[in-house]
């Protein structure tokens, strides 16, 4: 497969997952701020902003504008609308490599969300966009899985989706656990909802909301699709499948990186993780970044000198 095509598929998938994540977090956050609690609206928006737009967060978040900025900010690079348009742009570049159903769905989703022409004070409108994206993302994932060959293209799509998901989860956990440690039950429900995890958590651990147990679940539960461990396992699968196809490439570095990442969720004792949670999450994010760079160097923008060493 052409490197450019693989790259576009990967980024289409990352952007789509990013929009998906943002829609979950915003829906949960908006649900939260409607309830009175010991946290102020500003604090809760700050948490949302710092998990969705890490660079843009500062201590004085304007609660009135936060929702607008995260949904439709025309300048910001983090808004949901920007993510959908990023996914569509990448899909457009490889229009022939994806199924018509995928393209048509993504194209329609883009027109739907841009068609709202949102004004900054229109919370109800912003939440409608969030719902459209929520539904649209589920559907896009389903259409993708159902309509293309599960070959190399699919593996790059999977890789993009899960590396994005793992990073988003870590950032979100960091915002909840490290920035405000003393959240109440409502906030914990908010966190679980942000990961579409409330019902799955209750099934596995009952409705008793213990922070450690929640962290354990969202980080380490191998059966839950929005856990870090699940995401890393899927990344590993995708990378193995890709390297099995391209026997000639030197995959040691990528294998070492994904191996180390998986070891972090499989073998580090839970007590240690919770004690140093911020450091632990930062390490996972950093290693995902290294992995992204290594994959890019191995399959996409490899130096020609390296290509001729084989």
């Amino acid at each position: 497969m052409l490197s450019r095509v693989a790259d576009s598929l990967y980024w289409m998938s990352r952007y789509s997952e990013r929009a998906d994540n943002a829609s979950r977090v915003l829906k949960a956050t908006y649900g939260l701020i409607l309830n009175p609690a010991k946290f102020s609206t500003e604090e809760r928006w700050f948490r949302a902003v710092s998990s969705l737009a890490p660079g843009a967060a500062s201590s004085n978040v304007d609660a009135q504008r936060a929702l607008f900025l995260l949904v439709a900010d025309p300048e910001g690079t983090f808004s949901i609308v920007k993510c959908i348009s990023g996914a569509r742009e990448n899909a457009r570049q490889v229009r022939e490599e994806i199924s018509s159903e995928m393209w048509e769905h993504l194209n329609r989703l883009f027109h739907d969300v841009t068609g709202f022409e949102l004004q900054p004070d229109d919370d109800a409108g912003a939440m409608r966009v969030v719902s459209v994206v929520r539904e649209g993302s589920y559907r896009f994932n389903g259409i993708t899985a159902a309509t293309i060959n599960h070959d190399e293209a699919w593996h790059f799509i999977q890789l993009g989706k899960y590396i994005e998901r793992a990073c988003n989860l870590c950032v979100l956990l960091d915002a909840y656990f490290v920035i405000d440690r003393h959240a109440d039950d409502l906030d914990w429900v908010g966190l679980l909802n942000s990961c579409a995890a409330f019902e799955a958590y209750c099934k596995a651990c009952t409705a008793e909301l213990k922070p450690e147990r929640i962290a354990n679940f969202l980080l380490l539960k191998p059966e839950f699709p929005y856990s870090v461990r699940y995401s890393l396992d899927r990344m590993h699968e995708a990378l193995t499948s890709i390297s099995n196809l391209s026997l000639s490439r030197r995959t040691e570095k990528v294998e070492r990186l994904i191996g180390r990442l998986r070891a972090m969720v499989a073998y580090v004792p839970v007590g240690e993780i919770i004690a140093e949670l911020h450091k632990y999450l930062a390490a996972i994010i950093e290693q995902c970044r290294e992995l992204d760079a290594a994959v890019h160097e191995l399959y996409i923008e490899y130096p020609i000198e390296v290509a001729f060493q084989h």
């Binding site: 450019r4 018509s100 490899y302």
Partner: protein, 490 residues
Amino acid sequence: MIIDTDASDRGGAETLRRYELKSAYDEMFRAVGHPRKQYRELYNLLLSLGPDELRRSKREADQSFFNQGITFTVYGSDKGTEQIFPHDLLPRIITAAEWERIERGLTQRITALNLFLKDVYHEGKIIEDGVVPGNIVYTCKHYRREMRGIKVPRDVYITVVGTDLIRNPEGNFVVLEDNLRVPSGVSYMLTSRRVMKQIFPGLFQKCRVRPIEHYSQALLSTLRFLAPEDRSEPTVVLLTPGAYNSAYFEHAYLARQMGIELVEGRDLVVHDNIVYMRTTFGLQRVDVIYRRIDDDYLDPLVFESGSALGAVGLFNAYRAGNIAFANALGTGVADDKAIYAYVPKIISYYLDQDPILESVETLLMSDPAQRDYVCQKLDEYVVKAVGESGGYGMLIGPHSTEQERSEFREKISAQPRNYIAQPTINLSTAPCFVDGTIEPRHVDLRPYVLYGEKITIIPGGLTRVALRKGSLVVNSSQGGGSKDTWVLQN
């Protein structure tokens, strides 16, 4: 329109009632109510179908085009609007005898033009012998001095050709334009055939239409023929400017049909004069590039330095004989509209034959006498800019205003070499289904020619229609559409 009584009893005749014959040659009717032999089956069908049935078929055809994704992107819109290519429901039918002549004529013409290109970029004998003036050749917008002395693979310069033919009022096919650079539209020919088989299966069978579906295989084997001889399993790719190009659909379609990679310039890497594409499995050597990018953008080292559409070093790899381009570079010199005037001489110079297909009388504005003559009678002539295509830079005298004519007079006297004039030709008309009735519209014909081991002409082509009533401009950028073209078996 006069219709014999038993036909009008069948109810469908009302769609044909407004069909009027004028001075142009009509593809379907010899005289009112008298279809030509090859159109008899279609005529009978039309008599049996009412406007509602035709409308239904048209909707079905539109839907089929849309579902197949046969769309083009409308420029100037960031909303990603895609429209289906305008098309007409009724086929244009050509007899076996007519086609045989077209085939011979095009083969002769393409052979001669290819020899001309080889000569112009090597010894230049035709110039030395005074048949074609050197100053016309060397001032062509698309003449590429970089091509001097370069041996192109198999001596084939023009691999893919789409020649525009028109039918004059006497009923003869005449060459209007040679498109020797990157002719497009073949995907519309192929997809509209698929749609027509769906809509008119019965008619299709009765008429015995020659197939065109082998185009993609023929194109692939033509391209493979150009590969360097030591490459036994050559890799062929299609080079596109990218998803934003209006012909992207066609590029993607052809690549898919041939099972070859659709690449952009940024996918290509040249190392030691060998071209590779970057794949996730490593660099893969490329042997033949079917490029759908103009010469100017292929290699920023040699041509437009600001272009990001091609790849650095492609031209050196070409010069080294490690890569083949289809078409070769610099072929535009032979489809320049001033050179067009010399094609009959070019044919007799190289082949010692008379041209089988006529050309349109062409006056060169660089010739002072011809210029003065035309400038006085601009309302009778069509004036064209020599290096343009797609119907741009053109004045259609009889349909022009005094202001347009005076603008063209100025343009011509400022750059006489840049213009030619031709008498206005009344293109033939063919029946089209428009707004519930069948009316005549002007058409041309673009057959597709492949030049590899031998010259292959796909029996059919793109019939372009000027869908606006009375209009003579068939280009899709200016309100034109297409029709399926049926060449009948003997």
